[in-house]
């Protein structure tokens, strides 16, 4: 029978907290960059000019159908050669997560904007608003509310993608855990506890989103499903 020994956890609590900080840092940075980029991508995707909308559409589809880890390796190993500069793991990680998140957010924005009835566009155009004004003052405020559950779901997905960063030796929670596990020869305890930490970060959020989804679904304001 295996003898469990969880004392390695408190002994290395500082490292785990550092890792958690790394995870949160990359998550927040990726969100801050990815969210507005998603909106910009969506607007370009919806552009009336095919020369913009088609390549952007393809770009979004490419990002959505390529595994994130490949993109991460590309940004970490290949991109520095192209630009001729070394880039840190943090930057590569943030860029990858942000760009993938942007592609997924873009699809949510697009679906949300498309869900607003044509009549809204027409009546606002009749008032003499420019296309951008119309989008900002009429369409987006209505669309945003419908998109909230999908956004939250995607943001949880972003959080769930952060451990990939350990693969390029960025010291996030997972990387620290693997490091501690190796040094202490206690992988079972360390990795189980860390899985538990991830669970406790993600599960309550998922529950909240599901609750919100049901609430919005009842009032018919969700575009998630």
């Amino acid at each position: 029978m295996y003898e469990w020994d969880f004392s390695v956890i408190p002994m290395n609590a500082d490292l785990l907290i550092m890792g958690l900080y790394g995870t949160i840092k990359v998550f927040v940075s990726a969100f801050v960059i990815g969210f507005p980029s998603g909106l910009i991508l969506a607007l370009m995707r919806l552009s009336r000019f095919k020369i913009i909308s088609i390549p952007i559409g393809l770009f979004i589809d490419f990002l959505r159908s390529t595994p994130a880890l490949i993109l991460l390796f590309w940004f970490f190993f290949a991109f520095p050669i192209i630009i001729g500069l070394m880039i840190q793991a943090f930057l590569a990680a943030t860029l990858t997560l942000a760009i993938v998140a942007a592609a997924f957010y873009a699809e949510i924005f697009r679906a949300g904007i498309n869900s607003i009835e044509r009549g809204q566009w027409e009546s606002a155009s009749a008032l003499g608003m420019t296309r951008l004004e119309l989008l900002r003052r009429v369409i987006l405020p209505q669309a945003i509310k419908r998109m909230i559950p999908a956004f939250l779901e995607r943001t949880i997905e972003l959080l769930k993608t952060t451990p990939l960063m350990a693969a390029v030796a960025y010291s996030d929670l997972l990387f620290q855990a693997m490091d501690i596990a190796q040094k202490t020869f206690r992988p079972l305890e360390v990795l189980t506890v860390v899985a538990g930490i991830y669970f406790m970060m993600i599960y309550p959020t998922s529950l909240g989103v599901r609750k919100l989804e049901r609430k919005l679904a009842k009032s018919g304001e969700s575009t998630v499903h």
Partner: protein, 223 residues
């Protein structure tokens, strides 16, 4: 800054067999995890739908656990931690397959459950009124109707599982991404290697995605 880069796709073309082998392993992982994950997920979904607490409780715990712990963390756990308590040998390939399977099972369980729940209670009633037992109603009345509604989301889940297979490279399973990593280490051509692999995945997954949209429209209409 140096922008003029000499592309070297020859080293990729000459080593196509390395990538081909990687692709084969990727396909093996995908095939195993799809079969195991979608299959086991079906029973989990039934468990979650069950009226009996002894089925419902463990299914719920399993689903919530593996839906809410990142897949890579689970892979790492199965590779480094699980062997300590496992009664059988766990190599990297097995660990990756186990982890991706349980992830796929957890997500697909809810798809199945939602599919079953989407069938009107009147259909159950009509079956019961004919004297059909519970399992017969499930098999003859509910499943055939639910299948149309679960196929599109299951396809998306399957695509997700194929994408997850790349995570196996982290524990040195020589699937496609890992092959690229090895190639780039030998030939110093990370740009070409990772670009090639990204394109291969895109060419596999993009048509699948379009196909799942097609299914969604097609099956959605005939309802």
């Amino acid at each position: 800054m140096e922008f003029s880069y000499n592309w070297d796709f020859n080293s990729i073309l000459f080593n196509w067999d390395v990538l081909a082998h990687g692709l084969l392993v990727t396909m093996q992982i995908s095939a195993i995890t799809l079969t195991a994950g979608l299959g086991f997920g079906f029973f989990l979904g039934l468990g979650r739908y069950s009226r009996l607490q002894i089925f419902r409780f463990p299914s719920n715990v399993f689903v919530e656990l593996f839906r809410n712990v990142p897949a890579l963390v689970v892979i790492i756990w199965f590779f480094f931690a699980f062997p300590i308590i496992s009664p059988f040998e766990v190599d990297a390939f097995t660990a990756a397959c186990l982890a991706i399977s349980v992830n796929t099972a957890a997500f697909s369980a809810d798809i199945y459950r939602a599919g079953i729940q989407s069938i009107s209670p009147h259909q159950w009633e009509a079956g019961r009124a004919l004297g059909m037992p519970y399992l017969t109603i499930l098999r003859r009345i509910v499943f055939p109707q639910a299948i149309k509604r679960v196929i599109p989301p299951l396809t998306s889940r399957g695509i997700e599982a194929v994408k997850l297979s790349t995570l196996a490279s982290v524990i040195a399973v020589n699937e496609l991404l890992y092959s690229a990593k090895q190639l780039s280490a030998i030939h110093f051509n990370p740009i070409e290697a990772y670009t090639a692999v990204a394109l291969i995945f895109f060419m596999i997954i993009y048509p699948l995605t379009r196909f799942s949209y097609f299914l969604e429209r097609r099956l959605g209409h005939s309802d």
